[in-house]
């Protein structure tokens, strides 16, 4: 089947299929008639596996290594157990970072709600942003 058929069958966008192919995660042959990429049943399973692994927080690089092991007949389980812990730690750190950012932005917006707009001058492009910096630096 061609890119669009595989995409439809798997419920992903065609550009996703192309991207995974480019990364070597899917391995289509060529249609000898028109040189189009020709995907087979194994690619349907591979694509399903890639989606599941991503859904569980594995990166595409992880998936590539896992698929490579599996293709070589090596059981990827020990690595999979290790990798997920690393990804879980990264996920926790990223969440923490984003929550800080969220709080900072919410505080800025509620501060701005009390302030008028001001035209920029030579010192300040936008006093809204300056205000946040000043509050953060304790210079109010």
């Amino acid at each position: 089947m061609h890119v669009n058929e595989l995409a439809k069958e798997s419920g992903v966008a065609p550009h996703v299929v192309r991207y995974y192919t480019q990364l070597g995660l899917l391995q289509p042959g060529r249609d000898p008639k028109n040189r189009y990429r020709e995907y087979g049943e194994p690619d349907v399973y591979r694509l399903r596996f890639i989606r599941r692994a991503k859904w569980l927080g594995f990166t595409l690089r992880d998936v590539k290594a896992i698929l490579h092991d599996a293709d070589q007949g090596v059981a990827p389980c020990p690595d999979v157990r290790k990798i997920i812990r690393v990804r879980a730690t990264e996920n926790r750190d990223r969440l923490k970072e984003l929550k800080h950012l969220q709080r900072r932005v919410e505080e800025a917006i509620s501060l701005w709600d009390t302030m008028p707009d001001q035209p920029p001058d030579h010192k300040s492009l936008c006093h809204l942003i300056d205000t946040v910096a000043a509050v953060k630096g304790g210079l109010t």
Binding site: R52, A70, N91, Q102, I109, L125, C126, L128
Partner: protein, 153 residues
């Protein structure tokens, strides 16, 4: 206080800063300055004597602004469009606020997504600890991932 009167040891050009000097002045790395320049947020001039790029004192404020805007979650493209409206003589505050609100929505969405992944990961780790490696004939690539996904789908 003397902290605003630092005179660079080597003055780049009359009133100008080289990449490293500008970086030092604002407390970012030279790579950051180059990154901003590459993305069109800073426009260096060329020193005719040696061809080096140099920046004006106004760029110090510009870099500070970029840093602060990034601290509020704004993207390079957002900051670029703020600069553009300033250059057109507009008051950018409304734009700044609507961009920041949009980014706040993105942030909330990302947090939600990461939390969902977090709970799936925790469930998988628990599941895999209990389940040992029982053989699974139906798995093609990795029984851990396939079994877990199948059971929770």
């Amino acid at each position: 206080m003397l902290n605003n009167t630092i005179i660079p040891f080597e003055v780049a050009s009359p009133g100008g800063f080289h990449v490293a000097e500008l970086a030092d002045e604002v407390g970012v790395t030279p790579a950051t300055i180059r990154y901003y320049s590459r993305n069109g947020l800073l426009h260096a001039k060329r020193d005719p004597n040696n061809g080096y790029r140099y920046f004006s004192p106004a760029d110090v404020d510009r870099v500070r602004f970029i840093k602060q805007a990034q601290d509020l979650g704004l993207k390079i493209a957002d900051i670029k469009s703020i600069f553009e409206s300033v250059e057109k003589g507009k008051i950018p505050c409304g734009k700044v606020e609507s961009l920041v609100r949009r980014r706040l929505d993105d942030i909330s969405r990302q947090i939600k997504e990461l939390k969902a992944i977090k709970s799936r990961m925790a469930a998988a780790i628990r599941d895999w600890e209990e389940g040992a490696d029982h053989s699974n004939q139906n798995a093609r690539f990795c029984p851990l991932i396939e079994r877990f996904a199948y059971r929770t789908e």
